[in-house]
């Protein structure tokens, strides 16, 4: 039976899942909004974050260093992808980005197997974060609380940056009307590179965070990408606010769905997306606003 403890636990899990998914979806939605790129390689960047995290954590022996260095490395990879492969395709039918980023995703998966092998790995959780919190009959791993806290703080900071800072204004404006921003004299191509680098770093953070609580394996990139797309589309393509909102929604649906019928959680997720799109054909926060 579902009692209060199980429900609270599921809620915490759902929020944690939602916030980490928001980290992946934020980059995806900004990249789509500004560059018109359907980025299938975003899941690969998330996966790279986890694998870089594994290597840094084992070589340097520090989870904290991994949490900082791995996302930076992923950001560099993201920048290289933007400059070397996305940039030459701007202005062409955005559908071709699917073929391109799909190709990059497959390549990354193959390279990961070559370098790290096909078996599952794990990032070691630091001692300070291991163990469980107990409150009455509720027990919850400390690390999971940590993941929830870190991703919430990050998302909050980005929210503030996008809605308040000058760069945020340029980002929102470029997502809304790239040509106009270009005409006003801003270097849009640099903004583009910046957004991909930033989105890649966020996906990298999510990779490290989840790499220590779940397994790190070569299939995790393709595993997360469809979920991230669903979130981005429910929220409305290009909308950061929508992505965060619907990431939380999907996180909770998945967590509660697992209580009702574990084998059907995906069905709930896709049914939710179908209902949203049938009622609101451009997502919850789509089209009418850009951020």
């Amino acid at each position: 039976m579902v009692d209060a403890t199980t429900l609270i636990r599921a809620t915490l899990l759902g929020l944690q899942l939602g916030m980490t998914l928001a980290l992946v979806a934020a980059g995806l939605t900004l990249i789509f909004g500004m560059l018109d790129v359907i980025n299938f390689a975003h899941g690969a960047l998330y996966m790279l974050g986890a694998y870089f995290g594994v290597t840094v954590a084992t070589e340097l022996g520090s989870f904290w260093l991994a949490l900082v260095i791995a996302p930076l490395l992923v950001a560099v990879v993201g920048g290289a992808i933007e400059i070397l492969s996305l940039r030459p395709l701007y202005g062409r039918n955005p559908l071709y980005h699917i073929l391109l980023t799909f190709g990059i995703a497959i390549m990354t998966q193959g390279l990961v197997v070559e370098i790290w092998g096909a078996q599952s790995l794990r990032i070691q959780v630091p001692d300070a974060l291991s163990g469980t919190l107990t409150y009455g009959s509720l027990s919850y791993p400390v690390y999971w609380m940590f993941v929830l806290a870190v991703s919430t703080v990050l998302i909050g900071a980005i929210w503030l940056a996008i809605s308040r800072s000058d760069i945020g204004i340029i980002i929102r404006a470029s997502a809304h009307d790239t040509e106009m921003v270009d005409a006003l004299g801003f270097d849009v191509s640099r903004v583009f590179t910046g957004v991909v680098v930033f989105g890649a770093a966020l996906a990298g953070v999510a990779g490290v965070l989840l790499g220590a609580s779940r397994s790190v394996n070569p299939g995790m990139g393709f595993g997360v990408i469809i979920q991230a797309f669903v979130i981005v589309v429910i929220g409305g393509l290009g909308s950061f606010r929508g992505a965060v909102f619907s990431a939380l929604l999907i996180g909770l649906v998945t967590a509660y769905g697992a209580l009702i019928a574990p084998s059907l959680t995906d069905l709930f997720m896709f049914a939710l997306m179908a209902v949203v799109l049938i009622i609101k054909p451009s997502g919850l926060f789509g089209a009418t606003e850009a951020a």
Partner: protein, 361 residues
């Protein structure tokens, strides 16, 4: 619909030179089909395993063809064609194991299943456009996948097993066709080749018909077509349903040959790979995507033994999309039109790439 009838009207006016496959192109396709007809028996003797690959190539070529009819030609970005492929496959599997292995019964039913599934998905999805349409079709296809994987029909009807859950339905017999022994793989190959050729002929004809022109018009400018007075949504749903029929047929051909109907056939990765085949081959040309499908299947087969085959395959996708904007079909067309400048064109493409990477567009 009026236009479908008009298509077979011999008096219909010529549609000009923008049609799919000129007479020379048709000759080339016909030659290729004859070549495949000869190749089958030769392969069957030399290396029977390759006959298996050839059937797979043909099935996926048919699937890519059906997708291109809506994706490239009508601009309906379906990301859920696996649903119709799998539905056709599952209906064939259930019919063969429970009712009859007669191809004349099963294949039409597989096709109709594809039409029905596509009509439902299409009816809901055409409310959205572009990428939202793509995600709606994906959502429906994934729901089919989960339903098959968890064997939801069996749970709902209270019976033990219908889709067989994550095991799928296996041990499916090959078709029977009056007088022809289809358990002989070469005959199965000929049947597949014949059906793929007929499907191509039909869809090319349909694409060049007034009905096809309306679909193409919708791709180019939906508002304008609606303004002239066409019921855009209805055209989209009908086009999508027709495409779904051929996807269902592909499923019906694939499942008995594999002797397996599996939830994986419904998974989004099948739809995704199809889109990749389409873009690789050159969308909107109908024949290009078939070429793309063949290339992907054969490449996967050839590279399968090499350690880093995914890196090579992915690399090929990346190179093609950057240097051959219109896919393999585009490369072939430019080679045919301008064979002497092939080297100059290639040099231009590389220079163009370097310039764009440096940011001086």
């Amino acid at each position: 619909m009026r236009e479908i009838v008009a298509m077979f009207d011999p008096r219909r006016t010529s549609v000009g030179d923008s049609q799919i496959l000129t007479s020379r192109g048709r000759l080339a396709v016909f030659g290729l089909i004859v070549l495949l007809g000869v190749l089958g028996p030769v392969v069957a003797i030399v290396e029977p395993y390759w006959l298996y690959i050839l059937v797979q190539v043909l099935v996926f070529a048919l699937l890519a063809l059906s997708l291109d009819f809506v994706f490239g030609y009508a601009g309906l970005l379906s990301f859920g064609h696996a649903a119709m492929f799998g539905a056709g496959g599952y209906s064939a599997a259930l019919l063969i194991t429970e009712v009859t292995p007669n191809a004349l019964v099963v294949l039409p039913v597989a096709m109709l299943t594809g039409v029905a599934v596509a009509a439902v998905i299409g009816w809901f999805s055409v409310r959205s456009r572009g990428i939202y349409f793509a995600m709606l079709t994906l959502a429906f296809a994934q729901m089919f996948y989960v339903a098959a994987f968890a064997d939801l029909p069996a749970t709902l009807l209270g019976v033990e097993s219908i889709t067989g859950g994550d095991n799928g339905i296996y041990g499916i017999a090959l078709y029977e066709l009056i007088g022809i022994d289809l358990s002989d793989r070469i005959n199965y190959y000929f049947l597949t080749l014949l059906l793929v050729a007929l499907s191509l002929a039909f869809l090319v004809r349909l694409a060049n018909s007034p009905f096809g022109r309306v679909l193409q018009g919708i791709r180019e400018n939906e508002e304008r077509v609606a303004f002239i007075g066409y019921d855009v949504r209805r055209y989209k749903v009908v086009g999508f349903a027709i495409s779904g029929g051929f996807a269902g047929l592909a499923g019906g051909l694939y499942v008995p040959f594999q002797s397996l109907a599996h939830p994986q056939f419904l998974h989004w990765t099948v739809s995704g790979e199809l889109v990749v085949m389409l873009l690789l081959g050159g969308m909107g040309t109908l024949w290009g995507p078939m070429l793309g499908a063949a290339s992907v299947i054969i490449l996967e087969e050839m590279l399968g033994g090499i350690a880093a085959w995914e890196v090579i395959l992915g690399g090929i996708f990346v190179v093609v999309v950057i240097f051959a904007p219109r896919g393999l079909a585009g490369v072939l067309i430019s080679l045919k039109e301008d064979p002497r400048n092939a080297l100059t064109n290639a040099k231009n493409a590389i220079e163009n790439y370097v310039r764009k990477v440096r940011g001086k567009s």
